[in-house]
Amino acid sequence: MLRLPSFTYLQPSTLAEAWRMKADAGPDGAFVAGGTDLYPNMKRRQQEPKVVISLMGIPELAGCEMRDAGCVVGPCITLSELSILPSFRRSYPAVAHAAELVSTPLLRNMGTLGGNLCLDTRCNYYDQTYEWRKAIDFCMKKDGKICWVAPSSPRCWAVSSSDVAPVMVAIGAEFRLVGPKGERVMPAGRLYANDGINYLTKHPDEILAEVRLPAPDGWDAVYHKLRRRGSFDFPVLGVAAWIDWDGADIADARIVLGGVASWPQEVAEGGTTLKGTDLSDEAIARAADAAYRPAKPLDNTDFDLSWRKQMTRVYVKTALEELRERRRSTRKPS
């Protein structure tokens, strides 16, 4: 049986208590929410905190509140709750859908939104047991010196594998981070860095305290996920597409890809080419092409990398087609 290493488990009930515990533990401390990312990593000795501080008992981090200006979601809401809350589903179908596509129903009963957004990057040279990693002499992300995916590279290329993060970036959500030194609110995209090791711009002491979603008016978004099986599997490609409609035309658009880089990869050109169009076949093809060109999957997830690259075009296309379809069905004369 794979077991956790020994550690101290703490269950604070306020943010202040959590910071104090984290300050006491220093770099050896880690926050945990659902544990579905952290505990497997600890069992594989990819992460070895000595003190684990649960955020699940802190009331401020729970819940989901619909306001006029949008929705404020507590990071400790489980993915199951998020995907079944009727009012949330209605207003943010793309977010609910992405949450619903994470792993399995059992895991979604435990895994939280916050954990999903802070999910460690993944790589099949890294998501292995200690003994396995020892057999390849480890890698840069943990205990080693070199990156086996790109041996001449100075950086780690582990893949951002969250299903919900690309949607947050695409729809322009904001994150409120709170730390012992104060708080800040940032656009979702700014939480992430394109580096497999330092993939978050968040200070280790900072807690993701709120996810703020823009009011659901005038825009629409979808999320399409590619993976081998219909459950369990992480995305090898996630396509989040967001469109701000101005009548029949597109005022603004964003395409964000998951599973192809160490962060949710925005394809700026994809969005720009769509602007001002009515999502015609040609516009979709241009956007899909724009997404295809920069997508550089590496050989560290499931599936062959050249096929994954090919699939960006296909998946961006079907995602945009779905948006167009939805637009047509909602704008049908009533």
Binding site: L2, T36, L106, M110, G230, S231, F232
Partner: protein, 175 residues
């Protein structure tokens, strides 16, 4: 190697009864159930959240006991397969699984039973598709899932008070 952890003690409700249990604090609920409470009905196939074999109910929701800390269960309601039969009578799901051969090796069975039980608690008349979705987090290598779906459907019908019997094709194949 640090010295063996001093044990921590928690109280919880287990299969409807209050219990207290002491265990090394880094242990998962899976380990506590199997090793410290002697309930070996809960199985494991990966200990990494990748198979669903270890599912139990915590506060009526099916979760992966290999990724839940024992310490996080203080004061919670935990239900395992051992708590499904009541008064010496099988739960209708258990009965239907036994009747149709939905348990072949039986190793995945406790988790399937609990996950299916949670589904039926919310949805008395699930469609085949809803059953597949609800059980999509449980792997079974023996059955191909088909007898499992059929058993869930049979149990659901019986739990609704219908006098359901398995279809002939289920037991004997098509003519």
């Amino acid at each position: 190697m640090p010295p063996l952890d001093a044990k921590a003690k928690i109280a919880l409700e287990l299969n409807g009864e209050p219990v207290e249990v002491a265990f090394a604090p880094h242990k998962t609920l899976l380990e506590v159930l199997r090793e410290d409470l002697g309930l070996t009905g809960t199985k494991h196939g990966c200990e990494l959240g990748e198979c669903g074999t270890c599912a139990v109910l915590v506060d009526a929701r099916p979760v992966l006991s290999c990724l839940v800390l024992g310490l996080a269960c203080a004061g919670r309601r935990v239900k395992t397969v051992e708590g499904m039969a009541e008064g010496g009578r099988l739960h209708p799901l258990q009965d239907a699984f036994a009747e149709l051969g939905a348990a072949q090796c039986g190793y995945c069975t406790p988790a399937f039973l609990l996950a299916a039980g949670a589904l039926l608690a919310e949805n008395r008349r699930p469609t085949r598709d809803q059953i597949k979705q609800a059980l999509a987090g449980n792997l079974c290598r023996c059955t191909g899932y088909i007898k499992i779906y059929e058993a869930v459907e049979l149990a659901a019908a019986r739990m609704r008070g219908e006098k359901a019997q398995p279809a002939r094709e289920t037991l004997y194949g098509y003519p």
